[in-house]
């Protein structure tokens, strides 16, 4: 028992770290949903392309021999920024090609289109990188390889980067949506699309912007993922995206703070489940196998009792 408890701090930190990654990705899902009541299933692949973009930037820096000479912070910022730009462009393109033509169609149709885009992008990435580099599984040049040991806990530097970035993005997004004119326009479109149009807001442009910002978030998350795990392949988005989406729902879809809260909690539950389910159930439920089930079970329980999620508001239909 003592031994089990001794790893608790590390487990919590591990959970928090992965939780922040879920949180950043969840922000993208929740923002698009908040404005358009549409779940962009392709977000996970935009995240993946962000990871590849980050990888390419780091490879370029390494080839130009800048990786060793530039301060690590500069490399990091360059990587994340370029990934955000690339992913935002992809997000914008996906909206124009796969969603805009379907505006007005029944809800399910763009959803299926999104799933199709997701699969397409996965194999598209595979084809591109197999052609460009001979393999779609790539190792990313490493930066920030150190770790800090605080007492019983080891925190890798990259993990701290993700946490800091997550907090910056959350507050940045909340500021953007609430304190800027464009943000106000987005909130207007989210609240009542036809009336917003009548008020002179260019709805098309706002919707494009939503996907651009969402894409940028996904791209940043992807770049951070590439830096943290130093490994990219076209399938990294799939499971992570599904969990982040779940986290967004868990925290209250449409609510930015909820996305972050949901992400963090999901990460922690997963880590706890992975470490303790085994010992707690006398090895009947071996932790690592059941950690996903454990995390999703909690999700189901929360939704049963609070369908709008932890921080979500129950919307009443106005007759």
């Amino acid at each position: 028992m003592q031994e089990q408890l001794s790893i608790l701090p590390q487990i919590l930190i591990d959970g928090l770290i992965i939780g922040f990654l879920y949180a950043i990705v969840a922000l993208g899902y929740t923002m698009v949903y908040g404005v358009l009541e549409f779940i962009n299933f392709a977000h996970s692949e935009i995240f993946m392309f962000g990871a590849f973009a980050g990888f390419e930037v780091l490879m370029l820096l390494e080839r130009m021999n800048l990786l060793k000479t530039l301060p690590e912070f500069v490399s990091l910022v360059l990587t994340v920024l370029m990934a955000m730009v690339a992913a935002a462009a992809i997000g914008w393109t996906v909206e124009r090609v796969a969603y805009r033509p379907l505006r007005g169609a029944p809800r399910l149709v763009p959803l299926i289109s999104a799933i199709g885009v997701s699969f397409f992008l996965q194999d598209f990435a595979r084809v591109i990188w197999t052609a460009a580099r001979g393999n779609f599984h790539q190792a990313v040049p490493a930066i920030y390889t150190g770790a800090w040991n605080i007492g019983p806990v080891q925190i890798p530097q990259r993990a701290v980067i993700i946490m800091v970035a997550g907090i910056i993005m959350m507050y940045g997004l909340i500021w953007f949506v609430n304190k800027t004119k464009v943000g106000k326009a987005m909130r207007a479109v989210a609240q009542d699309r036809p009336t917003a149009g009548l008020m002179g807001i260019n709805v098309d442009r706002i919707i494009s912007l939503t996907f651009v910002v969402g894409g940028a978030l996904g791209g940043a998350a992807g770049a951070l993922f590439a830096v943290r795990y130093t490994s990219v392949n076209p399938y990294v988005g799939f499971i992570l995206g599904m969990k982040a989406f779940t986290a967004a729902v868990f925290g209250g879809i449409g609510n930015l703070g909820g996305a972050v809260l949901g992400g963090l909690l999901l990460g922690i539950f997963e880590a706890l489940g992975s470490a303790y389910l085994g010992p707690l159930t006398n090895d009947v439920l071996k932790g690592a196998e059941y950690k996903d089930i454990f995390a999703f079970l909690i999700l189901i329980l929360v939704l049963v009792f609070k369908p709008s999620g932890l921080l979500g508001q129950t919307t009443s239909e106005k007759v």
């Binding site: 790893i7 790539q138 490994s231 071996k286």
Partner: protein, 406 residues
Amino acid sequence: MDEGSSKSFGGDWLSMKKLLAALMTLSLLVAVAGCGGAKTGSGTVKLKIASVTPLSGGQSTLGSAIANGVKLAIEDRKADLEKVGVALEALPQDDLAEPTNAPTIGTRLVGDKEVIGVVGTLNSGVAKTLAPALKDANLVMVSPANTAVALTESGYAHYNRIVARDDYQGPAAARAVLNTIKAKSVMVLHDKTEYGQGLATEFVKEAKKIGLTVVNGDGEGINPKDTDFSAVVTKLLNTKAEALFYGGIYDTAALIFKQADERGFKGSFVGADGLDAQDIVPNSGGAANRVYYTSVADNVYGSKEGSEFVKRYEAAFKSKPATYAVYGYDSANVIIDAVISYAKANPGKTPSREEIMKAVRATKGFKGLAGEVTFNDKGDNPSAKVYLFQIQNNQYPGASLGEIKQ
């Protein structure tokens, strides 16, 4: 009057529609009926060897290697086949490593009458659903990679494999961990598949017999599509195990190994033939040179035929072959040999699937690039041996550490 004229003008257009539909269906039927069947009219017997492996997805490095091995084998034997009046074609199928895709592929292959044999699958889980689909048609399967024991214990007359089974490979890995790698405690993980879990179970059984401590009970499953394994690594460090054994495929293995190494795990990383792909080196990071894996072929590339194979492969496919390419090559050649001996004895005739199936099962002492192949009455290859490799100097394939005896 009007009704009369509209009737004759448009015709009874419902029946026109029906007529059109009937004509189209008829022509489709004729086309389909005409498509199937090997044509012996022109004298050359046209046949196909299908390969069923993942050509897309995380395991496509191994799957493509096998499919390419089949293509290369057919290409290399073209002259021999022409001499006996047979034209062979490769028919690669993508199973995405998902067992649920097997029935559809099976139906398709059974329906294509030119398909005379199947090289596949890579994943034991897929083979488990593909074998029943091909059984009634007596379509022979030669697997270059399936290691799950159950596949040759199900009484299939059409299923064969050239590689050793998990009840040989798993225990061999356990013995290697204790005797060669000299680790006294090991953490066992697997990917919950037919292959990985089966392997881990056999590993644990043997470990208990030889006194190798397994720190996590009977082994633990993880989700192979996951990317973050911090919690598992934390447990690993906490148990102070000296080695980590992973029953599964290279893509997830590399991630787990890398993360364990980054967190300061100094022990060895062990796996089986699922790790035998070039990706294992760059993607394992600092863990690479402590990776050991078992495989069914000894250092193939060291032999003269092996290095020539590599040259031909690189010329044809512009990439280096994973070791599985050789298994695919050998599996295809087993089927090709059966086809050639039939064609020699029966010139101009198309072999039935049953005859090829029996001929393949009767294979004795076939000398392949990866080793000798003889099929026993279950479809296993008793000549299959298990060898241990270690990645050294970030080079793939790993250095051979010799055979692990039964």
